[in-house]
């Protein structure tokens, strides 16, 4: 049976303020696949993540994004989330005064309601979320703390993966999830992501470094440069980038 296309980005152009950042980005991701998007700083990696999640301030000037056959760009950020799109933030936001537990329950129930599934009360939800916390090796005490407030870099990233585990998205976008992590934290976070790999779920890893890909082995690697994908390949492409840097891509591009 042919695999379902989850995400299809076609010739996407976007700008931030007056500055064009994405200049013809195209990408197709099918269910069960893990795609790594690599690229130098300023190539448009984070812009791509934010455009897909619907953040204000990013204006799409051309192209289209189809998610499970629907027009993703026409949806509000919360609608995208409810439909199963999840962005793990590079810099998770601290929200003093909102407990992690309350936040997760509000998010879970908003998504459940949208899908026509039963919402969970405090008791059953707590049981459910504690199981998920175990999976990302998070101390349940973090559930009672304010969202990300005073969390270390590693704890924040673990909290992102916990949210992903709770919301069970169909498309997970992980924006520089490895940045700022020491090796132990990187292993725990990668482990959590690997446990969430499944045939129904598509994963897009956005990363600057190859290091993360030692732990999460991708099916495809793409190089983003100047706002579009300039090279695609298998996992060996990441190793080549690690060895030779991004310079040869630019040279190839210049020659083309």
């Amino acid at each position: 049976m042919a695999k379902n296309t989850v995400l299809k980005i076609d010739d996407l152009h976007a700008k931030v303020g007056d500055k064009p950042i994405l200049k013809g980005l195209s990408l197709e991701v099918k269910a069960g696949e893990v795609h790594a998007i690599m690229g130098p700083n300023g190539s448009g990696k984070s812009t791509m993540s934010y455009v897909l999640a619907g953040r204000d301030g990013y204006e799409v000037t051309g192209g289209s994004v189809s998610y499970l056959g629907k027009d993703l760009l026409a949806m509000a950020p919360e609608e995208r989330a409810r439909e199963g799109v999840f962005l793990a933030f590079q810099y998770p936001v601290e929200i003093p005064g909102v407990s992690n537990k309350y936040f997760l329950k509000a998010a879970y129930n908003a998504c459940a309601k949208h899908r026509g599934e039963p919402e969970l009360d405090a008791g059953p939800f707590l049981k459910f979320v504690k199981e998920k916390a175990k999976m990302v090796e998070m101390d349940p005490a973090f559930l009672n703390r304010s969202v990300n407030e005073g969390f270390s870099g590693g704890e924040k990233k673990r909290n992102e993966i916990l949210q992903m585990a709770v919301l069970e998205p169909k498309l997970a976008l992980l924006d520089e999830t490895d940045s700022g992590l020491d090796i132990d934290a990187l292993k725990i976070v990668s482990n959590g992501i690997n446990k969430l790999r499944c045939p129904e779920r598509a994963v897009v890893l956005v990363t600057h470094y190859q290091r993360l890909l030692d732990y999460i082995v991708p099916d495809f690697v793409h190089v983003l440069s100047g706002g579009r994908i300039v090279k695609s390949g298998g996992k060996e492409l990441a190793l080549q980038l690690e060895k030779e840097g991004y310079g040869w891509i630019d040279a190839e591009k210049a020659a083309a």
């Binding site: 999640a53 619907g54 953040r55 204000d56 509000a76 950020p77 919360e78 995208r80 989330a81 409810r82 962005l87 933030f89 998770p92 936001v93 929200i95 003093p96 005064g97 909102v98 309350y102 936040f103 509000a106 998010a107 879970y108 908003a110 998504c111 949208h114 304010s146 949210q163 919301l167």
Partner: protein
Amino acid sequence: MSAPAALETEFRSLRAAAGEPAWLSEARESSFAAFAAQGLPTSKTEGWRHTPAERLIKPDFRPAGKPAARGGFGGRALCPITFHRVVVHNGRVLPGGEGSNLSGLPAGVRVQGLAEVLRDEPEALKHSLTRGFDKSGLPFAALAAALARDGVVVRVARHARLDKPLSVLLVSDDAGDGLPQAAHLRVLLLLDEGAAAEVVVESVGGGRAPFWTNLLTQVSLGEGAALKHYRLQRESAAGRQTAATLVEAGRCARYESHAFDFGGALTRTDLRVRLAGDGADCALSGLALVRGDEIVDHHTVVEHAAVGGTTRQLYKAVLDEKSRFVFDGLVDVRPGAQKTDASVYNKNLLLSEDASVHTNPEFKILADDVSCKHGGAIGQMSPESLFYLRSRGVGEAEARRMLVYAFGSEMIERVGLEPLREALTAALHARMPEAAEEAA
């Protein structure tokens, strides 16, 4: 300056009618003179520049009359009915059975209506009512001292404790004719050495016509006494309140104040605390949810007059639509008040471009070995936080509500009384800003 004619007439008729002791008459006369010397504040009066009292408070509001209906107070109050309770309806203390419930007060604790005490044993209040206070900048407090016929007197004897909180419910409703009304009230909270009490003064407005409550509260705390003083403001849209609270704290006494402003056209609160004894301590907290054309104004002055006093002050406000919040917090450290430890903060969340905040946390320090910190902040809802919540599926209106709640909940969590904390949480949710509702 002079007193407006309507108030002069009211004062004269009160003076003619009352068969009061001479010392009380004299105290009323001198208070009225202090009011007349200042007159009603205008936009040019120091301390009133941002608070248009003259537009909202008219001297010819006539003395509060009999409300059209009585009863059902339990359902209108945030305070649970399990507390001891005194109900003041349109300026009159109601007897037990008509709303007040004071059966089962512990030994050493007396709670009475002011009119009742003045009738039965006026001499008991001679000290409290003749002790002068600095009326400068407090014209309405002076007026209340001159005009108040009723109010509430709480006396807690040495080392006695109120076993459960006392709810003082100030209810205002339209009179039969629906004309604007005014009520001048006095509250005395007198705690002897080592005494302790929790008192919740809650204002609930029900009418459509303007109702002006002018409240003067005097608190006296003996050595080591502790008072938790809650003020819940839930006036009607036409409600106006001017409230002055004067606190005198003895050695190692502790005064804790929690002010919640959840409604009213104009709420002006003056809180003056004098830490008179060594090691006295005050914690002043406030949360205002202001919307429409409402104005909430908190003026606080804490005088550190002795060694080793502590002040912790934090007021927060959430403003929507065309509302206004004024905060003026002065800590005055007198010469010799060494080891003073004081902080004054005011934080504001603006939800509308038309709302305005005037904030002025300030210190005057005349001692050298002190720790004093202050700050004022005015911010808007963080777009990053809003996007983060929405990116997890939380709808925009709900996300805004969560962030407003998060901003305000810190003040509610400081409330030690659990049933009250729960009621306040529900009230905070119920009074979410219009901006959040509109986004739904």
